[in-house]
Amino acid sequence: MMQDAIDLAVFRQLQDTAGADFVVELVDTFFEEAPGMLAELREARAAADGERFRRAAHSLKSNSMTFGATTLGKMARELELKGMDADRERDATAIAALDVAYADAAAALRELTRG
C-alpha cells in the first residue's frame, strides 16, 4: 500500500532535476506544511468558507503532484474541483480519507528519502 502512495517515476525525476539532497529538504518542508493545509481544510469547512476550502485543497493537490503522491493528489483535486459539499458529513469523511492518504504518502516519502 505504501509503495502505491508515491509514483516512483515522478519522484525519481524530481530527484534527478532538483538533486537528491535538495529533495530531502523539500520533503521536510512538505512535512512542515501539509498538516497545516489539512487543518486549514477542516477550519474552512467549519467556517463554511468555500473559497478557503478550495484554496487549501488546491495547495495540497499541487504539492502532492510534485512528489508523485498521486492518490493523495487525486483526492485533493476532487475536493478542489467540487468545492465544499452541501453535506457537512460527506466533507468530513473525505477529509478523514485525505488524512489517511497523507499518512501513507508521508511514510513512503520518509522511506524514500531516509533510505
Partner: protein
C-alpha cells in the same frame, strides 16, 4: 548568453512550490528570490529591479490576477515579463492571465525543461525590448518615449492646447564665419546643454533643433497644467544662462552671445509626422507659426523674450511685461498683440 545571471522573483504562497521553482532557476544559472503573496511581491518590485517574475494565481491577501492588474497600471513595472505558474485548471484562467499581460503560462508541477525554455525566451524578449527602449530614449525626449511606450507609434495627430517656444542665437551666422568650426560646434553643444536643462527643468520638450535654433513644446505630448507660465519661466532661465555663458566667454576675450525667444499659446495639432520609417513628434498650426514669427521679431523689437496675448493671459498677474502693441507678423493674417517679458525678474 543573454539570460545569464538574470534576477527572478518567484511568487507563490506554497512554500514547497516556491522552493522548488527557486531551485530549478538556480540550477539554470539564475538568481531567484521568493515572495509568499502578491502584496509582498509588489513591495519587492518597488524596492529592487527584477528581470522576470514567475507568478502563482491562487494566493491569499493578493492573488495573481490582482498583481497583473497592478503591474498594468504602473508605468515602471508594466513591461516586466511575467510567466504565470499555476495548478488552476481550465483554460479560462490562462486566457485571463494572457489578457492581463502575462507573457506565458506554465502548468504546475512545472516541467524543468519547459521552464528553462520559457524563461530563456522571456528574458531574450525583455533584452530586445530594453535595447529598443534605450534607442528610443537616446533619440526621443523622455516624454515622447513615455508616450510611445504607452500609446504606441501611430502617424497622425490630435488637438492639444499648449505653449510653443522658438529660440535662436542672434548673429550666429556671422559668428560661425569668424571662428574655427570646432569652436562653433563646442559653443553649440554648450548652448544646447544649457537650453535643454532650462527647458526640461520646466517640463518642456525640445522637439526640433536646426543649427542654432530650437523649438520646444510645453503641454504636449503630456498635458501640463501651467504650460504658458512654465514656458516663460524656462525662457527666463535660458536668458540668465546665456548671460552667464557670455560672462565666461568675456573672460576668454570672446564676443557675448544673445538669444531671441518667442512664445505663443493656443490650440494646435500635435502628433508624429513623417513616414513609417522616420518620424518625429511635432506640433503644427497657427500658434506654432506665431511663436516662430515672435522669435524672428525679437531682433526688430530689440527684446529677448516676446510672448503673445494668450500666453500673457495665463501668467501670474505680477509678471512684468512691456506692451509692444499690435504687430503684423509675416504669414499671420491678423495683427498680434505682442508683449516683451522683462528678463531681470523671477517667476
Amino acid at each position: 548568453m543573454a539570460e545569464a545571471g538574470a534576477r527572478l522573483l518567484v511568487v507563490d504562497d506554497n512554500k514547497v512550490n516556491r522552493l522548488l521553482l527557486i531551485r530549478a532557476l538556480e540550477l539554470q544559472g539564475h538568481r531567484a528570490v521568493g515572495a509568499e503573496n502578491g502584496r509582498v511581491a509588489l513591495e519587492m518590485l518597488e524596492r529592487e529591479p527584477f528581470d522576470l517574475m514567475l507568478l502563482d494565481i491562487t494566493m491569499p491577501e493578493m492573488d495573481g490576477f490582482q498583481v497583473l492588474e497592478r503591474l498594468l497600471g504602473n508605468p515602471r513595472l508594466r513591461d516586466l515579463p511575467v510567466i504565470v505558474t499555476s495548478a488552476v485548471e481550465g483554460l479560462a484562467s490562462v486566457v485571463r492571465c494572457i489578457e492581463l499581460g502575462a507573457e506565458d503560462y506554465l502548468h504546475k508541477p512545472v516541467n524543468p525543461v519547459l521552464l528553462k525554455a520559457r524563461v530563456g525566451s522571456s528574458l531574450e524578449k525583455k533584452r530586445l525590448r530594453d535595447a529598443q527602449k534605450e534607442l528610443v530614449r537616446r533619440f526621443a525626449t523622455p516624454e515622447v518615449a513615455q508616450d510611445l511606450q504607452q500609446s504606441g507609434f501611430a502617424l497622425g495627430g490630435k488637438h492639444v492646447r499648449a505653449s510653443v517656444m522658438f529660440a535662436d542665437i542672434r548673429g550666429f551666422t556671422a559668428m560661425c564665419e569668424s571662428q574655427p568650426p570646432d569652436e562653433t560646434i563646442e559653443l553649440l553643444n554648450t548652448y544646447y546643454t544649457l537650453m535643454f536643462d532650462a527647458i526640461s527643468g520646466h517640463r518642456g520638450v525640445v522637439n526640433q533643433m536646426i543649427g542654432d535654433g530650437l523649438m520646444a513644446v510645453f503641454g504636449a505630448p503630456l498635458p501640463l497644467p501651467d504650460a504658458a507660465a512654465s514656458a516663460v519661466r524656462a525662457a527666463l532661465d535660458m536668458t540668465e544662462m546665456v548671460e552667464l555663458l557670455s560672462v565666461e566667454r568675456a573672460a576668454e576675450r570672446k564676443p557675448p552671445i544673445r538669444v531671441g525667444i518667442g512664445i505663443a499659446t493656443g490650440d494646435m495639432v500635435a502628433g508624429y509626422t513623417g513616414t513609417q520609417q522616420r518620424a518625429t513628434y511635432t506640433c503644427v498650426g497657427n500658434t506654432v507659426n506665431v511663436a516662430a514669427r515672435l522669435e524672428a521679431h525679437t531682433k526688430e523689437a530689440q527684446r529677448a523674450i516676446l510672448i503673445d496675448g494668450q500666453t500673457l493671459a495665463a501668467l501670474p498677474p505680477d509678471v512684468q511685461v512691456e506692451v509692444l502693441g499690435a504687430v503684423t507678423l509675416k504669414g499671420v493674417s491678423a495683427p498680434v498683440d505682442v508683449f516683451a517679458v522683462d528678463c531681470g525678474q523671477k517667476l
